[in-house]
């Protein structure tokens, strides 16, 4: 078996520092190829998707390495936050912004922002408080107050990548944009909140800490947004100048890729949220810049971004899978007793489910209540269940944050911290494998195929017909309620449309002539 030979070679060479990076790159490239081919074979399968395949392959390779190195190590590369945050995350998030259906996204904009931001705060509060209350009960002590707060943000960040593989944009555009948009905002919020908590010790003002965190958060959010939009517009303008069009495709492509990456890097450099910046840069670029380049460049950039994103995602899952068997961490963990370990995993998983349920169902109920008067944009209970479920998976962001909090350059000798790392990896593996496997069947049960094949707006109005009579059972009461909530309704539903209309006019009159776009 050729792979095994390579891995044996990898083990022989990996003591040699000169060859280490060559070996690990070769192995990763080979294993990524394997994932692509195997993922392709399993493409038609009901339960498995590519993320799960990559993770399982990662676990298997980890096992092989573990045996061939006689228990010394299980991975070629140590999990490296830098690698993750500098090279792997930006293409995924940028591509997400670049490929998103902007109409749906902006239509649900307030909704998405509200759920992304408020949701993280609620999840964070529940997970932090819950773990602080429950961990000592099962005999697991030793975490500081800040560790508990960090734990809240670590497990508040959802991994929507896996769900989006299952939920197709064309079949469920609305659901997709809700889940996806919330996921991006959620990731950004978690990372920003995590950084805010890391900085908290500096203030040392217990009372003002919350205000500081929220102030930090708002500052980071707005500056990141501005930076992302500015970079996107700059790129569009550079490509629009009549000048570039007639020249080489390679140059256009290089400029787009570099500027996209630069936006992320600049945000990181200025200690803003790179995720948010690069996401908005992606949206702006696909709205303007994409129309200023040649047909060839357009096709190519679309596929380059999609391919990079695909490779980065597969790589991450492979990585997490391989890291799960990191024997050193398992040896360092405090809890030799399996009961305590399982206790920790169960508590975290339970809190994750509870934390998400605590904002999805109440907030959507509120949201439906607000917007039912305006038009057919209700989110049925079935949709809510899917949205809830889709956000239960925890992924690479959680792992990266956990490593950042509990290790120093990926290494820790503190048993309590090592336990938190292994728990994070277990929760990520379990949620991705188990919750991930169930997602596909769950969606096909909750949204039967005939319903999904319909157009979504049509589907919505059908749902509306079902729910509206329930609300208007008692005409007079309904009228009273409608009156009462009309002011609130204006706050949420109306402005979105008004703003949207204003924006359209502004875009057509001022933006497109300068930055390019379809006329």
């Amino acid at each position: 078996m050729a792979l095994f030979d390579i891995l044996s070679a990898a083990m022989i060479f990996s003591s040699d520092t000169d060859h280490e990076s060559v070996v690990s790159i070769s192995v990763y490239a080979a294993v990524l190829c394997l994932c692509i081919v195997v993922g392709h074979f399993l493409g038609e399968n009901r339960w498995v998707n590519e993320s799960i395949t990559a993770m399982l392959i990662g676990c298997s390779i980890g096992t092989i390495i573990l045996f061939s190195s006689k228990g010394r190590s299980s991975h070629i590369l140590r999990f490296d936050e830098e690698l993750f945050f500098i090279y792997l995350l930006p293409p995924i998030i940028f591509n997400a912004g670049f490929q998103v259906k902007k109409k749906q996204f902006f239509h649900n904009f307030l909704n998405i922002m509200f759920f992304g931001v408020v949701g993280v705060f609620i999840s964070f509060a529940i997970i932090s408080a819950g773990s602080w209350w429950l961990f000592p009960k099962i005999g697991f002590n030793g975490l500081s107050a800040r560790d508990y707060l960090a734990l809240g943000t670590i497990f508040a960040s959802t991994d929507t990548v896996c769900t989006l593989r299952v939920l197709h944009q064309d079949e469920n555009p609305r659901l997709y944009s809700l889940v996806f948009g919330e996921g991006v905002v959620n990731d950004a919020t978690s990372v920003v909140l995590f950084n805010a908590i890391q900085n908290m010790a500096v203030y040392k003002l217990e009372g003002w800490a919350a205000v500081h965190v929220i102030g930090d958060f708002l500052y980071l959010f707005s500056t990141s947004t501005i930076l992302g939009i500015a970079t996107g517009l700059l790129t569009a303008y550079a490509l629009k100048t009549p000048y570039f069009g007639r020249h080489s495709t390679d140059r256009e492509i290089a400029l787009m890729v570099l500027m996209a990456y630069l936006s992320y890097m600049l945000a990181e450099l200025l200690q803003l949220s790179g995720i948010l910046t690069v996401f908005l840069c992606g949206i702006v670029m696909s709205h303007y810049a994409q129309h200023n380049v040649r047909d060839n460049s357009r096709t190519t950039t679309r596929h380059i971004f999609a391919t990079l994103s695909f490779m980065a995602e597969t790589f991450i899952f492979l990585y997490v899978g391989m890291d799960a068997l990191d024997i050193e961490k398992w040896k360092t963990t405090k809890t030799r007793c399996w009961k305590t370990s399982f206790g920790i995993y169960s508590i975290i998983l339970f809190l994750v489910m509870l934390g998400r349920a605590a904002f999805v169902f109440p907030l959507y109920a509120l949201f439906n209540h607000m917007s039912s008067s305006s038009e057919g944009s209700l989110i049925t209970f079935k949709h809510q269940v899917i949205i809830w479920w889709a956000g239960l998976m925890r992924g690479a962001v959680s792992v990266a944050l956990a490593f950042s909090q509990f290790t120093v350059y990926g290494v820790t000798w503190d048993p309590v911290h090592a336990t938190m790392i292994t728990s994070t990896v277990v929760v990520v593996l379990f949620s991705t494998l188990v919750f991930g496997c169930v997602t596909k069947p769950l969606i096909s049960i909750l949204l039967p195929h005939h319903a999904r094949e319909n157009n979504q707006p049509h589907d919505d109005s059908a749902n509306n017909d079902v729910t509206f009579p329930l609300l208007s059972l008692d005409g007079s009461a309904a009228t009273a309620i409608l009156q009462a909530k009309s002011s609130l309704s204006l706050m949420l539903a109306r402005p979105v449309h008004t703003i949207h209309a204003y924006w359209r006019r502004f875009d057509d009159e001022y933006m497109r002539p300068v930055f390019g776009g379809p006329f």
Copy 2:
């Protein structure tokens, strides 16, 4: 000036290890964008091309950093062999193989191989012997015998990237394929020879050393070729299986990119010549694999490879330009006296010119002599001058080899070694800037535009008409010579065509049905 702000920020942060890579990546991304835009502005210029632009921008940025850091350092990233050989070189060479006009290349195959391999050996001998003889004369001592041998290979590797920017494939297909093909074989030969010399100390057999070097060389050459072809065919086969075609473009693209990279990495892992392997992999992929993918994937992969190559090239020139002002090396150099320094630079430049002249003119004279009977494939003197000139530039491979020989991880405290590094950088800068600037005008003087716009086969026959009478001035003597050399001629010219015909038949009957291709 925004750039200046970033650079100041870079200087502030670069003491902080956490931010170092973020800063350097941001700066490089920003500067690459600048190079693209400036290079575009200067695109129509007669003298300057993009490589030179990148180098000059690199120098300017180096100067800015030097001043803003008050003379402490001039670069963000230290020149790193690993970065160069692992990330920057593979895309350039692969793209070269992928985009080369295969018909022309194979037509001149023996020619290219002969010049590439024999040429390097001749250049190497002249530069090693010349520097060994001349350096002590100007009072520069301290290099070991192996250093002189290494110097020969360092300056035997040409940098054709710069010339190829000027010499367009469509205008001069034959000249392009000769210069380009020789350049690739030359690079591969130099690197292989360099490695063979590095290993020489192990043998400790002075007499057998040459045999060992040649044996090593032949082994590396053949195994690298086999590996490259095998990887290319494997990729083509994987994409051909009916299975893949119907599926996603992203997966096809990812597989091609990964396999291409894997071929290089595997070669490096097995200590073969990655350059040769990835080049052949590129040729095989463009011959077979490219026909097994969708139209979108085909367009995208072509542009991806071209863009990556373009970015890597620009990056290298920028890098070399920035590294030229590395103040530490200049301080460490032995020769405070500018006379000795200029002596060293002049000797090296002279030897480089002599070393190339010593094989280009004699070998092409021999070649013309051999093949004049068979058909119109003569290389006129003007072409020879261009071929000679095009190979005078020294580039990133030289710098990388010099760093590998004379530094430990980019740092050296030995004044003699530091002098060799600065000399290499100066020679590279000078040859690229001065020789590079002259190339464009030289080509337009030697090959006026009306001649270049003709089709090359047509052009060749025109050249043939000019040169043939000269050879057949004396009919009887010519006949005698023709008779005498017919056996030699068969060795060189005939087999190429016979082999080519056999190969075509074999390709159509056996290869294409299995691995794909146009029917």
